[in-house]
Symmetry: C2
Subunit: 348 residues, 2 copies
């Protein structure tokens, strides 16, 4: 039996307590300073208001103030904070970490440095740790299609976990695999994280088409929607993710497996990024979208802002017309046209 | 202005008359012996009952008996028949074809010979022609997400066309590109056709999950559906299409561009293959599915039957657990379990 500390009581971090606890591990769910009302509810009755479900009985909910008492002797830490909390969790964990400790991150995002360097969020977190420890921590990240409410409902989910060593990904798999949670171990942490971050961004474009369809009066009298259009963007998204991974010498197969195409598909079925794109397609401004989705972190918007910094550094940015569209829409505040004739250069 | 003869007045062949006619070409839409009622309606008022829309005024509807009179001096033939009509169209065209004539096929399917040889439908059609002509005909095929009613509604669609020479694909592009119909030319005809055929088969598995969800009472009280499950199958489908193309030395990028992931996405939104899978997932038998979808050709079922013949010949058929599931379900008439733990070998 392992001792596992999940930090961040948002839906995804919390949902992981199901398979881990079903496997008999000692699971602590530690809320951040933003999660007090969630944790108070869990402490009272195990009911998680975000997931609309009671946590498994054995899961122990804790407030962040209790962290120093419960973190001793842990086998695995899971970082369930969103991308805005990545630096915070690095700072928060600093006093408690030692070399070879293991952290698994669920957050998806990326950051571009002023010189065009691309960092994935586990790297951003690592840089907050004391140098002597940061480089010696073992970090893994989870990608793939996993709506939290379905995992908490013990419904079939397949994910991929990758780490900067083989050990942490394999240990996470060993702790978490159940009859409903299927885990594959991959070697290329950076590829998984980039694919997972980009799929959020590209989902905005697909949601945009559905919103645009509604704006134009929806399906016409002969039953024609705009699914061809949405599907073309879906394919272009896979293709651009492939090319970005390939251009960094990373494993591009993640573009068309769980972290890429799989997660893109599920996010287009149900997700904040899709909802944001839908609202934009209806003609709302980004400010209106933020107001309407108040309280939700739009990782997709953050990623598009980062990609705006990266595009000028990519060898051939003409190959990313869909990301260029998203940057014009979100960052440059334009009403851009989708230049479909410049898609699919890869095919030729 | 080119003279273009479309044979087969089903929805897809007929829908192509929109961009071709909008570009000012002389377009004949020739129904097969099964299309008399469609053509009669079109002759009377241009109204196409399948598309629920009037054909562009310039399009000339014809019955099959008129073919000998109108086929002379054509620049391009488009074969719009379904996969069951491929041999018929080869025989029908035989008397009229000469070397270097150009045919574009919209049909998606494949055939496996007794020794495990894989033929795409353009090859099957070619074999019906006199030998002296068959090998010297230029054939192209169209792949990618294109619901016919949307194309006929002049809504944005992106497709890929590939031919056994560069010329026919390029000529089709030249004739058909409009502001709403975007055409990419690819070199690998066989890869495009195989990806296009397989996506129908794999769509059945994704539809199956949605049907299974309904059978289990739908979304649960906490809002959990089975989208993670569907998305995992989507990713596995892309991965298996990639591996099949790769194992034949074909261009595997078609697995995650228009003909693969793009067409898979749109077929999962709306399509017969999805409907068939949905009914199977609800617990209906294949016989019931055929009864309920009477009158619709289920290309997906035909492809799965062919793949049942191919799997034993593939070097490592363990790599295709999702296709094996479909074969068990459709061909072996079992109630198989989806062995999710054997997915995603590619990732490792």
């Amino acid at each position: 039996m392992a001792k596992i500390v999940i930090i961040g009581a948002g839906v995804m971090g919390s949902a992981l307590s199901w398979p881990l606890s079903d496997n008999g591990h000692e699971v602590y769910l530690v809320g951040t300073h933003l999660d007090h009302s969630i944790i108070d509810s869990c402490k009272q009755s195990q009911y998680h208001p975000g997931l609309k479900r009671s946590l498994p009985k054995a899961v122990i909910p804790c407030n962040i103030e209790e962290l120093p008492n419960i973190i001793t002797g842990f086998d695995l830490i899971i970082s369930g904070v969103n991308s805005l909390g990545v630096r915070w969790i690095g700072k928060t964990l600093s006093p408690f970490l030692k070399p070879r400790d293991k952290i698994v991150a669920v957050t998806k995002g990326l950051e571009i440095g002023s010189g065009g360097s691309l960092s994935i969020l586990p790297e951003v977190m690592q840089r907050e740790l004391p140098q002597s420890i940061g480089s010696r921590i073992s970090i893994a990240a989870i990608g793939g299609p996993c709506i939290a409410s379905e995992l908490a409902g013990r419904r079939q989910s397949c994910v991929v976990v990758a780490s900067n060593d083989d050990e942490t990904a394999n240990i996470f798999k060993q702790y978490s695999v159940t009859s409903y949670y299927h885990v594959w171990v991959a070697k290329d942490l950076k590829a998984v994280e980039i694919a997972a971050a980009l799929k959020n961004a590209y989902t905005v474009s697909i949601g945009y088409v559905y919103g645009f369809l509604d704006k134009k009066g929806g399906v016409d009298t002969a039953g024609a929607g705009m699914y061809n259009f949405a599907a073309a963007l879906f394919a272009q998204a896979c293709s651009e993710i492939f090319q970005i991974l390939d251009s960094y010498g990373l494993d591009p197969s993640h573009a068309f497996t769980l972290a890429g195409a799989g997660d893109l598909y599920v996010t287009c079925q149900k997700g904040r990024s899709f909802k944001a794109g839908h609202l934009l397609g209806e003609g709302r401004t980004l400010i209106q979208v933020h107001e309407l989705l108040k309280g939700e972190t739009l990782e997709a918007i953050l990623v598009i802002n980062e990609m705006a910094k990266l595009l000028p550094f990519l060898a051939n940015d003409r190959k990313f017309p869909l990301m260029n569209f998203l940057v014009d829409l979100i960052v440059n505040n334009q009403q851009p046209q989708l230049d479909l004739d410049h898609f699919f250069d890869l095919v030729n």
